[in-house]
């Protein structure tokens, strides 16, 4: 189950905050809109996935890896068995890479003023 498609509409911080808030609730099971029902620990694994994804992509960006190499280089074996990992994880990594890169460009351009 990859229940975490990174998107544009909601910021990563708000997403993480929502996951934290969910974990504070007395939830017994998660019934996702896609994939089978899962125990409440699924929320924590999504959180862990997002943290690892973020850390890996930042590391790749700072090591100067090209966007074309990101999907393979961002491989996270712990989550490799998640449904649609091959499509969604590779895409997530690329989306985040472009986003972090953009943030750095904006910083650079803004400070040059």
């Amino acid at each position: 189950m990859v229940s975490s498609r990174v998107g544009k509409a909601v910021s990563a911080t708000r997403y993480l905050r929502a996951l934290k808030a969910l974990q504070a609730l007395p939830i017994k099971a998660v019934v996702p809109g896609h994939g089978p029902a899962a125990p409440a620990t699924a929320i924590a694994s999504v959180e862990r996935y997002l943290a690892q994804l973020r850390a890996r992509v930042l590391a790749l960006l700072h090591s100067g890896v090209a966007l074309s190499e990101v999907p393979d280089a961002a491989n996270l074996p712990e989550f490799a068995r998640w449904d649609q990992y091959e499509t969604i994880h590779r895409r997530n990594a690329s989306v985040l890479f472009v986003r972090f890169e953009r943030e750095e460009m904006f910083k650079r351009a803004g400070s040059a003023d």
């Binding site: 990859v2 229940s3 975490s4 498609r5 990174v6 998107g7 544009k8 509409a9 909601v10 997403y15 996702p32 809109g33 896609h34 994939g35 090209a66 966007l67 074309s68 990101v70 999907p71 449904d83 649609q84 499509t87 969604i88 590779r90 895409r91 990594a93 690329s94 989306v95 472009v98 986003r99 953009r102 460009m105 904006f106 650079r108 351009a109 803004g110 040059a112």
Partner: protein, 276 residues
């Protein structure tokens, strides 16, 4: 029809949003079109070729120009593309023009690069939007009039579904030049130019107003070094947001690398970088 498809893709992603992964229309297993080979033509290309290069033979024999693209592009809004020339830019024979085409995009001609000898080596890198499974091709026109083509088939998931960032519109048009590697005199030296720009396609629906966000994109980037033209790029919204080009130029001494940018709403910007 294609426009509807494009928009449908956008809405699909917006509805899926962030939470639980929504099934995506184009991720269905078995949804792949029949076996497509990299060298195949397409009806779109056939019709485009007649308009771009009427009654001129386009050689697809490998060797002169090469395009590098991922077969499975992870993120359709930013597909990295490399164009490699096997021909050094010499006065006797050189690559005069490169045309980058995405067969099935709503506006298939992504870029036309008008080159001089000052590029030294006609290699380019950029990032493009690929709306749906499509061939991506480059056509090199040599100074002797010959046309050479190379193509790759690209499978994408997401097409144009990621709305560009509009959080820093105060920086719109800001043009950054960068030298990723040390400068070598009288040798092709790599440089990057990036324009901060959402490069709006005009196919994106504003979820609040239910109006299309008008197209607004970088039309051209003209690059010179020490007041000598290196290349002119005519671009389109098939280039990803914050359009970027990696190119070569041959420095013969110190000078200023300059990029003059124009967008579809008549915005003009200039980026410069002192070399040495």
């Amino acid at each position: 029809m294609r426009r509807m498809h494009f928009i449908g893709r956008l809405l699909g992603l917006a509805a899926g949003g962030l939470g639980v992964a929504a099934p995506q229309a184009d991720s269905a297993v078995g949804g792949l079109p029949g076996p497509a080979s990299h060298a195949d033509s397409s009806p779109e290309w056939e019709s485009l070729r007649d308009r771009l290069f009427p009654s001129r033979p386009v050689s697809a024999t490998p060797g002169v120009v090469q395009i590098v693209a991922p077969l499975r592009a992870a993120y359709g809004a930013s597909v990295p593309i490399k164009i490699l020339s096997n021909l050094p830019q010499t006065p006797g024979l050189y690559v005069k023009r490169l045309t980058l085409v995405v067969d099935k995009n709503p506006s298939p001609v992504a870029a036309v690069l008008d080159l001089t000898l000052e590029v030294g080596q006609a290699d380019f890198e950029t990032r493009i939007r690929v709306d749906e499974y499509s061939h991506v091709r480059v056509i090199a026109e040599l100074s002797n009039g010959q046309l050479h083509m190379d193509s790759r088939y690209v499978k994408t998931s997401g097409g144009c579904s990621a709305p560009p960032n509009r959080d820093a519109l105060n920086l719109l048009g800001k043009t950054l030049l960068k030298l990723p590697e040390p400068v070598t005199m009288n040798r092709p030296t790599t440089a990057d130019v990036t324009v901060l720009h959402p490069n709006d396609t005009g196919f994106e629906l504003n979820q609040v107003t239910v109006m299309y966000i008008p197209a607004h994109f970088v039309r051209s980037i003209k690059v010179s070094f020490a007041d000598r033209k290196v290349f002119d790029a005519d671009l389109d919204f098939s280039i990803s947001e914050n359009p970027t080009l990696r190119f070569n130029f041959v420095p013969h001494g110190r000078g200023e690398l300059k990029a003059e940018v124009e967008d579809s709403k008549d915005g003009h910007w200039t980026g410069t970088l002192a070399v040495l």
